[in-house]
């Protein structure tokens, strides 16, 4: 019935009703910011830094901070790309496939368009053109994914599993599983530059996080994303075009993957369909640790950023301790399970209390 009703309903202007809901939701959203939760995460971060600083001799140095600031951005952008669908009650399992395909396209274009002995201006033009092509690819992927989720009603898990397989398949088919390298060195030079002691990728991450925070908190679209995540039926009956919101969510997620792809290209100086596959678990882990409800409707960008910092400190610490990659992967999984168990326990205690 609702499907038929929404089809018959005349297009409504989104602004007026959403502003009304925004006022009603304000107290709820204020509570969501959870000063307690964020303080807990910040405390955990500080404690970890102190423990690792005391236990690992090389840990407390400017070098560690720099390496954290270089490694965090890709993961941070991919986590932001996961955050939006999670808040809307879905999931995007294709983020890494999307980022890799965009990186492959950009690397291939940069390599094949740059003439030998080109001047700086030509190279810059080629880089910008390649990046525009990558952005266009991600926009198309995002629109297609969003349209499939919104208009067929198939669960996002299945849609994004399908798009992931499709994207990875196309990437591997076209590259035969090889790595594309040989980018103009100017690209990596800008991508790895340091401005006032802060690496450029880290600045990009901060800008993206701010943009996401503003999008979620200060726009009608953002409020609609939270509403879709907590109750999609109620949102539909509140005269919000749920389908357009869902398309927007997957579009934004895909565009964030494009930004991640740009950073990955700069750091690895090459592209491949196989890069960063283990990040999928970590992006979900970061979101859940940062207080995002896996069922949708709740979550903050700041929680996510704090969780990322914690994970990065853990990763740097365990690297310095010389742990194997598999042991680390197991620890990530166990941490994810532990955090979710703790959250469930905390909720039950709260319900039993006064």
């Amino acid at each position: 019935m609702h499907a038929a009703a929404s089809r018959r309903r005349p297009p409504v202007t989104e602004r007026a009703p959403v502003r009304g809901i925004d006022a009603g939701l304000a107290p709820l959203l204020a509570r969501l910011r959870m000063p307690g939760g964020l303080a807990g995460l910040a405390g955990l971060l500080a404690a970890l830094v102190v423990v690792f600083g005391a236990a690992v001799p090389d840990f407390a140095s400017g070098g560690t901070l720099q390496s954290v600031m270089f490694q965090m951005p890709e993961l941070g952008l991919l986590s932001l790309a996961m955050l939006l669908p999670l808040i809307s009650g879905g999931l995007n399992l294709a983020i890494i496939a999307t980022a890799n395909q965009a990186a492959l396209l950009m690397a291939w274009l940069m390599r094949s368009w740059t003439p030998a002995g080109a001047s700086g201006g030509t190279v810059a033009l080629v880089i910008v053109a390649a990046m525009l092509a990558g952005l266009l690819l991600c926009v198309v992927i995002g629109l297609l994914t969003g349209a499939l989720v919104a208009y067929t009603g198939v669960h996002p898990i299945l849609v994004t599993l399908g798009t992931r397989s499709l994207l990875d398949g196309v990437s591997i088919f076209l590259t035969r599983g090889t790595i594309i390298s040989g980018l103009p060195h100017q690209y990596a030079a800008v991508g790895n530059a340091v401005v006032l002691g802060v690496p450029v990728p880290f600045l990009v991450l901060i800008a993206a996080a701010l943009a996401c925070g503003l999008l979620l908190r200060r726009t009608a679209f953002g409020v609609a994303v939270f509403m879709v995540g907590s109750n999609i039926e109620a949102t539909r009956y509140s005269a919000i075009d749920v389908r357009r919101v869902l398309v927007g969510v997957y579009l934004a997620s895909s565009v964030l993957c494009f930004v991640a792809a740009c950073l990955m290209l700069a750091r690895f100086n090459s592209a491949s369909a196989e890069y960063a596959q283990s990040y999928l678990l970590i992006t979900i882990l970061a979101a859940v640790l940062g207080g995002v409800d896996p069922f949708g409707g709740f979550g903050t960008v700041w929680g996510l950023m704090l969780a990322l910092a914690i994970l990065q400190v853990l990763a740097s610490g365990s690297n310095l301790l010389g742990m194997s990659d598999y042991l680390k992967l197991a620890i990530w999984g166990l941490v994810l399970i532990g955090v979710m168990a703790a959250q469930t326990l905390a909720q039950r205690m709260k319900r039993r209390g006064p």
Binding site: G153, V154, F173, P294, L327, I337
Partner: protein, 333 residues
């Protein structure tokens, strides 16, 4: 009856398979021989067994992508017992199966008691199971499996007109047994009916007195069992145990189950549908091979199959509901 047939998912699937089979038979002469067909089924027997287990979880309204890791752990444990401790098969195989059930039970605990969404819980356990397996084994393969495990067991064999030997081997028989058992459990037992009820609407199922917790353990434990069985048979087929051999087969298995009509929202799907889904995938891959298309292309096909089949099923269901809704008031007048 024709109306019912037209709406049945399995009938559509069968029609697609027949059309595709006819096209392939016309293009590739080697396709329509009993030998090729039996080979195909044997190649896909392990995936078929896994898909049957996953199908039960999908019916219950959940999803599990840790089964390939579970299969690897169970296979490696049994192989280690057999090759390093020289245990007899009567110990190794039950130990492997039990390990599978135990890992499935861990998933069920996380999903039922810790209340984690099934996809996130199983992404986490997949990483933990697989990473711990790789950490403790160092990725070393066990190639000296005992003969009782790797010896080919042939139940029936005959020679066809071209002189090829056609063999019905253990993996095929196990697939048939697993399919029969799953079909009986899902359609002829109370637990099976309750699984469909829970997948359709967990809250109403709970209110009519279905023990949701027990069913979670049944569904994920059953998948763990099937995964372990698939793992042991995979080692039987290839004659060795490689820790990461099964890893990465999740998508093929999932697409077979989804092709067979199982939906992530739960409550629908049938065993014949899953079997037809496996057959369709097998024919697709075999056909692409015979046509000389790069094996890299197969992943694209899997992605398209998932997207197209789920979208069509969903849109068809929605259309049917809309029609019924229009028809209902007319009948009331």
């Amino acid at each position: 009856m024709p109306e019912r047939l037209r709406r049945s998912h399995e009938a559509w699937l069968l029609a697609v398979i027949l059309v595709l089979g006819a096209v392939l038979a016309a293009i590739a002469p080697g396709f329509l021989t009993p030998g090729n067909f039996v080979d195909l089924i044997e190649t896909y027997s392990v995936q078929g067994i896994l898909a049957l287990g996953l199908f039960v979880v999908l019916v219950s309204g959940g999803i599990d992508i840790s089964f390939a890791a579970t299969a690897s752990v169970a296979q490696y444990l049994a192989a280690w017992l057999a090759a390093r401790l020289h245990m007899p098969g009567i110990v190794c195989i039950p130990a492997g199966l039990l390990a599978g059930v135990a890992l499935g039970a861990i998933n069920a605990t996380l999903i039922h008691f810790v209340r984690v969404t099934s996809i996130i819980a199983t992404i986490a356990t997949m990483s933990v199971y697989f990473a711990l397996l790789m950490y403790f084994t160092g990725g070393k393969l066990i190639s000296d499996l005992p003969d009782w495990w790797t010896d080919r067991i042939v139940f029936v064999q005959w020679q066809n007109a071209e002189g090829d030997l056609v063999r019905i081997t253990l993996p095929i028989v196990m697939l048939v047994v697993a399919a029969l058992f799953t079909w009986l459990m899902m359609t002829r037992s109370t637990a099976g009916r309750q699984l469909y009820a829970m997948g359709g609407n967990p809250e109403s199922a709970r209110r009519v007195g279905v023990a949701i917790g027990r069913l979670h353990y049944l569904a994920y434990g059953f998948l763990g069992f099937m995964a372990a069985l698939g793992g042991i048979i995979q080692a039987h087929r290839v004659g060795e145990s490689v820790p990461n051999a099964m890893y990465g087969s999740e998508l093929t298995v999932l697409s077979a189950a989804v092709l067979g009509g199982a939906s992530l929202s739960g409550g629908v799907g049938s065993v014949p549908g899953v079997l037809l889904g496996i057959v369709l995938l097998a024919i697709l891959q075999n056909g692409l091979n015979l046509l000389g298309v790069s094996p890299y292309f197969f992943q694209i096909v899997i992605g398209l199959v998932i997207l197209i089949s789920t979208s069509f099923t969903m849109l068809a269901t929605r259309g049917r509901h809309a029609r019924r809704r229009v028809a209902a008031p007319a009948a009331g007048d």
